[in-house]
């Protein structure tokens, strides 16, 4: 089954690639250090393994999108694309959820565990990370739409019989 790649689908994949690349770059450049009295508070993305996981997953998803963009539609078997799309989408959503969980603790704290919020000391870092998370959310939506498209290409949903 050779389905030609139409322009809107190409654009969708390009947008998804752009969103994951944007999330990667914004997370990498998040860095802030402030001085309060004599103490230095420094916040980087590498302080938290969750943000490192976020970065790795986004880089992998960007590379995957790049590869799929530049493979011609004759070399692709849509079943393989479906499986890898499913795995990449679930990885993206998992990285988003993990980063959101840690950011929520950073912003509100967890008084039961004795964890104080840190966003009061490094507000620009928090906003920067929030930007990366928003971009990641948009990327996750695009990737889910692409997953539905791969499903349509394997099953031909519009002419499915019982």
């Amino acid at each position: 089954m050779s389905k030609a790649k139409s322009i809107p689908l190409f654009l969708l994949r390009l947008l998804a690639l752009g969103a994951t690349v944007c999330a990667t770059i914004v997370m990498v450049t998040s860095h802030e250090s402030t001085k309060v009295l004599n103490m230095t508070f420094e916040a980087k993305y590498s302080d938290s393994p969750t943000f490192k996981y976020f970065l790795v997953v986004n880089a992998v998803a960007s590379g995957y999108s790049l590869i799929i963009l530049f493979l011609s539609s004759k070399n692709l078997t849509w079943q393989l694309v479906l499986v890898s799309d499913l795995v990449i989408t679930s990885l993206l959503i998992s990285s988003l959820s993990a980063a959101l969980g840690v950011s929520q603790v950073a912003k509100k704290g967890n008084l039961h565990a004795g964890w104080l919020p840190i966003c009061g000391q490094v507000p620009k870092f928090c906003d920067h990370v929030a930007g990366a998370l928003v971009s990641e959310l948009i990327a996750a939506i695009f990737y889910f739409l692409l997953l539905l498209n791969s499903l349509h290409n394997t099953l031909d949903l519009l002419t499915l019989q019982a």
Binding site: D47, S48, L82, I93, S97, G101, G114, L160, A162
Partner: protein
């Protein structure tokens, strides 16, 4: 279903038995149910000596519950939704043989399976990283680890997360196999329910 495959020479003879997919789905359902139940009942109370006045130690009772962490709440919700979804699909596929639905119900099952995979991956991974934070702490943010004091709480949480990840993998396998089986059936133009 297997007899029709044997009679029809165009269908490939290497067909899955009819009970493989529902069995895997049953395993995934049990994994999600156990993850939900174990995390929902996750609670540990411990008494700490806060100060000593003279010879009387003053104890403070601290409770660790799953509701204290929003990531664990989302974990419980996502796993319960996934277990309900699996139960519903199992019921549809066991009872639905007698009814004659239109053709797009299998596509609906495939799409809702993908939605559930996304939801559960979010829930399990969020809880996993919060558990990692509880186990190791974060020295840069001055967040102390809590698992050395609440070890049963952490162990139960870890067990629930492992069950959820196993259910997630099984659900991905079920989804992919059912889509490929659906593709073979639609190209062979049979009209049999799975």
């Amino acid at each position: 279903m297997a007899q029709q495959a044997a009679k029809n020479p165009e269908v490939p003879t290497r067909e899955l038995k009819g009970w493989v997919i529902p069995l895997l789905r049953l395993f995934a359902f049990s994994a999600f149910v156990s993850a939900t139940v174990v995390m929902a009942l996750n609670k540990q109370t411990k008494a700490f000596v806060v100060a000593t006045i003279g010879s009387n130690p003053i104890k403070a009772t601290v409770t660790a519950k799953f509701q204290h962490t929003p990531a664990f709440v989302f974990f419980v919700v996502a796993n319960s939704v996934a277990s309900m979804h699996n139960l519903l699909i199992l019921a549809i596929q066991s009872i639905g043989r007698k009814y004659d639905f239109k053709g797009n119900r299998f596509a609906v099952i495939a799409i809702s399976d993908m939605l559930t995979v996304a939801l559960v991956s979010g829930g399990a991974s969020g809880a996993a990283f919060m558990g990692y934070l509880g186990r190791k702490g974060n020295s840069h943010a001055r967040w102390n680890k809590i698992c050395d004091k609440f070890d049963t709480f952490c162990d139960h949480g870890a067990g629930a997360m492992i069950a959820s990840f196993i259910g997630l993998v099984l659900l991905i396998i079920v989804n992919v196999i059912s889509i490929i089986k659906l593709q073979n059936r639609s190209t062979a133009n049979c009209s049999v329910v799975p």
